[in-house]
């Protein structure tokens, strides 16, 4: 399928590696842990191909993608006992469909509001990231 060499999701370039850690491929997407962890357990589910809008997908492809999104959200909810999993797809300039999945916790950052795209505040050790990934995979 279509790829764009200038897209960080298609090229898996250093910009992407600075922002996220690849966890695994899913049926229609790839799952990443977002390195900025203000919202403990935050992930991204990126569609397998370079498609801009969700509505450009066929029903079958959209359903496969949203099945991945729902499975990951459920796994995050179980893994981290989050009160709510926020979902957001923005990407005005980076035209590759991906969903931010952001756990929210009662009395945690921005509970009751939207999440900040990249607070640039909380970065964990390799071991701590590995532990988050392990818990997501155990619940996936």
């Amino acid at each position: 399928m279509q790829k764009d060499p200038n897209c960080l999701y298609c090229s898996k370039n250093q910009t992407q590696k600075d922002l996220m850690i690849e966890i695994c491929d899913l049926s229609a997407s790839t799952l990443f842990l977002f390195k900025e962890q203000t919202y403990r357990g935050r992930c991204i589910v990126a569609y397998k191909d370079h498609v801009n809008e969700l509505f450009e997908l066929s029903a079958a492809d959209r359903n496969a993608f949203m099945d991945d999104v729902a499975k990951v959200a459920k796994a995050m909810s179980l893994a981290f006992s989050a009160e709510k999993i926020n979902m957001g797809a923005y990407s005005d300039k980076l035209k590759h469909l991906h969903m931010h999945l952001v756990p929210k916790y009662v009395d945690g950052p921005d509970f009751g509001g939207t999440f900040v795209m990249n607070p640039q505040k909380v970065y964990l050790s390799e071991a701590e990231n590995a532990e988050l990934i392990k818990r997501i995979l155990e619940n996936l």
Copy 2:
């Protein structure tokens, strides 16, 4: 199906009427125009029942809801020639599944970033809201 009398989407109370204008029912949801129109054409698609998380739905119900979301996003994109339709589901405290659909425009507010939940800045006349609704329905 389940309803919560304290929920603004279930009860269709005055709080809801202050925030949004009901446009029509879709297969698994109801479509609303968001009254705050900083992002020209902004809408909400609310699930028909009082369900908290997308992942709590069966695959069939989830697919029906996301089909509604995709149809509305496509209609908004066509109606308003938006550069991108942002999608966001937060609702940490209001446990009724709904998706914010927010058109973004090059050189428009917050292009390239997330959208603000409720900027409380731009409110249109009844005639202007009716015109937006007409254009969405023509493209739905």
